[in-house]
Symmetry: C5
Subunit: 305 residues, 5 copies
Amino acid sequence: MIIKKKTHWFGMLFEWNGSVLPKLLPRLLIIFIYSCIVVYFREELMAYQLAINPAIFTLFGIALAIFLGFRNTVSYDRFWEGRKLWGALLNDTRSLARQVHTLVEGSNYTAERSRFIKLLTAVVFALKHQLRNTDTEEDFKRLLSPDDLNKYRNKIYKPIMLLNELGLWINNAKMEGRLDSITQANVDTNLNKLSDIIGGCERIASTPIPYTYSILLHRTVYIYCFLLPFGFVGSMEWLSPLVIVFIAYTFVALEAIADELEDPFGIEDNDLALDAMANNIENTLAEIDNKKIEAIVPSKDYYII
Amino acid sequence: MIIKKKTHWFGMLFEWNGSVLPKLLPRLLIIFIYSCIVVYFREELMAYQLAINPAIFTLFGIALAIFLGFRNTVSYDRFWEGRKLWGALLNDTRSLARQVHTLVEGSNYTAERSRFIKLLTAVVFALKHQLRNTDTEEDFKRLLSPDDLNKYRNKIYKPIMLLNELGLWINNAKMEGRLDSITQANVDTNLNKLSDIIGGCERIASTPIPYTYSILLHRTVYIYCFLLPFGFVGSMEWLSPLVIVFIAYTFVALEAIADELEDPFGIEDNDLALDAMANNIENTLAEIDNKKIEAIVPSKDYYII
Amino acid sequence: MIIKKKTHWFGMLFEWNGSVLPKLLPRLLIIFIYSCIVVYFREELMAYQLAINPAIFTLFGIALAIFLGFRNTVSYDRFWEGRKLWGALLNDTRSLARQVHTLVEGSNYTAERSRFIKLLTAVVFALKHQLRNTDTEEDFKRLLSPDDLNKYRNKIYKPIMLLNELGLWINNAKMEGRLDSITQANVDTNLNKLSDIIGGCERIASTPIPYTYSILLHRTVYIYCFLLPFGFVGSMEWLSPLVIVFIAYTFVALEAIADELEDPFGIEDNDLALDAMANNIENTLAEIDNKKIEAIVPSKDYYII
Amino acid sequence: MIIKKKTHWFGMLFEWNGSVLPKLLPRLLIIFIYSCIVVYFREELMAYQLAINPAIFTLFGIALAIFLGFRNTVSYDRFWEGRKLWGALLNDTRSLARQVHTLVEGSNYTAERSRFIKLLTAVVFALKHQLRNTDTEEDFKRLLSPDDLNKYRNKIYKPIMLLNELGLWINNAKMEGRLDSITQANVDTNLNKLSDIIGGCERIASTPIPYTYSILLHRTVYIYCFLLPFGFVGSMEWLSPLVIVFIAYTFVALEAIADELEDPFGIEDNDLALDAMANNIENTLAEIDNKKIEAIVPSKDYYII
Amino acid sequence: MIIKKKTHWFGMLFEWNGSVLPKLLPRLLIIFIYSCIVVYFREELMAYQLAINPAIFTLFGIALAIFLGFRNTVSYDRFWEGRKLWGALLNDTRSLARQVHTLVEGSNYTAERSRFIKLLTAVVFALKHQLRNTDTEEDFKRLLSPDDLNKYRNKIYKPIMLLNELGLWINNAKMEGRLDSITQANVDTNLNKLSDIIGGCERIASTPIPYTYSILLHRTVYIYCFLLPFGFVGSMEWLSPLVIVFIAYTFVALEAIADELEDPFGIEDNDLALDAMANNIENTLAEIDNKKIEAIVPSKDYYII
């Protein structure tokens, strides 16, 4: 998700990028041409009594309002729940990193602690790749030791299996007397949270809004747009195609945005910036691990996360 | 729930499967024929002053909007809460499996750990069968030892009784010195969560939306549809049956979808894919238990979970 | 709450029981007769310019939509929160029963464990009676020992005082060395949850929707219904009483349902089935306590919980 | 909050107390007189073309619906969150009282336990007085020992400082060997919850709905009411003042209720019954402390909490 | 956020400060002048059939209502979630301060405890500065020792790194035998919560409402306002500019407020009072640390937090 910073209220009216207009242009053109045709044949239409009472569109409007309002809210909730889960991922990995640094004894344990941080970072990248169905190889090579790489590169549920490795790491440290049962239980609670976050992301990714809803909304929107000319050619004649395209734009665009937000882990314009968020997590964990890092400077006009 | 992948915006308008149209066709046909009859007798209607002022439908619309919006939201919330509970089931069983593998001591304890995982899987399948009122026998035979099978096949509240067995397993391991009280308390917390999840599913399954609501909404929708012709035959004549069927379609379909989603654990088209989700849980638990598993490859055009 | 199972879409239109129609009939009759009177005097009405511009009803409609939508949502939320609390009561008592069976040592402790389960069941029934302001005597006699009966029958806050007894039971078991501090803390957490559930039910029962809202909504609905004839006699004459009764039915019924659901612990048709739910909890706890129980078979046409 | 019990549907229409009507009468009178003046000059109005197209009010209605719906929901949410926090206060103080009675050893510790209960009750009253900006002196004298009274009467954040005293009490008991670290941690968790509840109440009390919203809604409602006569004098003449006052009543009353509920800790008619709730908590804590208490009998026609 | 106290209902209509009117004046002026121009050319407009059917605006209204309602709700939710997070920050730092005073042994440990409180306060100010992108130097100098100042002034994620220091402080106290593992785990849980709060604020600050939504709503609002004159000059002539400006005001103002609230951590009029809230936290923590503090007296007419 790359989001432009706020522009002036007037310039914002003519923004091209960032809006869904480019994508919708062909459809709006079809509706425009179709409206013009209807206007052209308006007299025949009247003669055969094919004009629609404008009150009808208010009735349609009720269904449309319910559908669009619902679709819109649900899609945004999915988007925002996805964002919250990735926010929780940031919080929880930070907490685990802090715990490993403050609760696990031994000043000579630096290398092992770094391994834990790397494994933790690998969980984040493994989740990202699973959600986008991309290859983990490159990130795993950077983050995992050769042994771990061999062990985990072919697992089906990679983030969960790496979580297991974190659990074994903790247990190992306990065996060596670096923490006791109480602290282990404390850290384990955060591993449970990580498991909840991973499963939450899988839930959103695997269960879309019931398809029947999408079809019904889609049809209602387009039937509505294609009936509009029959209702207004009588009163507005050649002005009507223009006005109808304006109305169609708002409804069609609303459906299109909702459609993009529905699956927040994708790579469309309005989806979540998983890449930036994963890098951000890697950075903050590295700083906790006393590595030298540099702030990501967002470019002047764009939000990055 | 089998959900087709997104199709092209134009093709989506003519989608047949996946929409509720087939199911609603008879009702829409009745409304169409009925409208035609009203149009045919329109002059008698006018003569006896039986035309309805179109403004009336806007007033009805308020009630309709509240009812449909409410029903729709509540049904979807039930669907999504059901999905969240099964998501939590996945997360929680994974956490328990991880805990048994990383917190319970003893490299020679593999068989016992596998028994725990199988029992855990049996909880999931027992819940599925309880929610759908189907027989657990086949799945229990696959997952339980003969002793456990005899002990649990005739219990009334099977998932809860299996949870008790998991609690006894943990206590047994503690007796053998493989974990201490703290770790036991830690694992027990996850058993509590499982108990909450099971009870949550039972709650949704046993308490539908108050029947009075369903009746009232149902009546309002159909009274509305059957009054519509009296309001529009005057202004649209033979065009009105077609337009009325379009309007009726959106309202009737909205009610029908809400009705399907209300009980998300059923086996209708829009219900949750409990089978696929239970198999998914079995798979991920098996992988944690170091069993060789194969990824479920979703077929090209369908979501599976 | 006795809820009929789904019937056919057509038969549902003429359902008598389960709808609020019987209760509302007198009011609808009044509105019908009143409308007829207004129609009868329609010419005098016109002469004195007492007809209302139909657009007015759309303006009223905004307020009506906000009020009814709000009242409806809030009432249902209260109903559903009540249901969730009783669901949590089921989950939490089950968890406590499991903990007492798996975490408290001693195979010779069966009688004591049964006493705990009975006390736990008594909490549930005490809560039911407190919410409905009915007498606990009969259920307490069945569930409590004579000593406990004497101790608790005259307490004001019975469920909470029984909770204390459960706390003392746990402490006693600790004194006897059957569990340690950690397990006690673990069980105590579930007692805290029980306390939250009891208090949550008291909150809903003691704090209704602010009365001013109820009055304002009530008035708006009826003023609206009584003004309707003045708006439509001009255009619909003798058809208007019928149409007005249909409209009034939807609004008045919506208010009536919301009013019933507002207090979910009552004994009206749409209230929660506290009896069935308490029996269900007693059953599941008894099964955990190794008592022989029989499944409650719901009759063919009715949901029971 | 004193809330009258439900009355008959017909009598409820003419309820005077409990409604906001008395408070709004002057404003409605102004609107009525103003409407009459506009009707009187209706011919001049028409001559100068100052009549407003009634369709305009539907457009205004959109903004009005969004504003009123939003304000209403947010105000009620604040009211209900306030109620939930006080419900949680009840639950949490009960849990702490139970813990002190069942987890802290020593049959000779009764006086100390009673001091804890009194301190806990003092937290509740201190919070009430802080939220209403009233004086704690009287309640503190009744509940605190002279030493504690001197220590805490001049603190700025009284409830929080009393919480500290509770923490010291627990620590003292641990020093004397009456509870161990685990139990202390368990009780401390409930002190954390108390801290959350206190802070939650402070949040609601100190952060109202942004003032800009209140102004904008207020203006929209009154501009709407003052424009109404210009839209309807043409069609309804001398009937319009009456109808306009009815419409104005619903909108103005809705805003007035929302305004009262916004700050739920005040002492207006629709605010929370903090006095009754604090007394209720004092009572239930005293019963847990084995004090003899009497049930508060709600008078026949009124809810008390 | 400086919010004026409630004024009289009549005076509130003419409030200048606190409303968004000053900011919107230029835009409303443009709309007014533009409307006048359209009225002036109304005859040419009619001649070329460029008048818009007023029913069109009702159709637009559906989209507008969905957009504005959605934007409004989401923006307020972000505002309120931000407020809740800062409320949780207050609660959680208070709990940590109490724990350090009641759970960590040693009457000779006062200086160390004060250092902890200062570090805790520094976390709060570091978060404030991070969210507003301002310099921490001044506050860090006041709150941190020279050593800590050097260590943390150049960190990227300052609040999180200070959290680590708090974790080390706790661990140090454990090493010295002032608290045991159980208490450490207890305090550590609150550090986890702090981590969640910090991450929650970062989430809101870094992820605005998808820009595409903002553009679409912005365009719909202004297209609507600029089309309005074409719909009403026919029926209202020279009255229409005035009425149109009133309508435009409500919609444009609604969008403007939503835009301000969207980023609650900024320094616009309607943003959260981070300064006052941070000072409030510093005060209450100092009182727990037995420092002499003075209450912040809010000036007579303004809320301060």
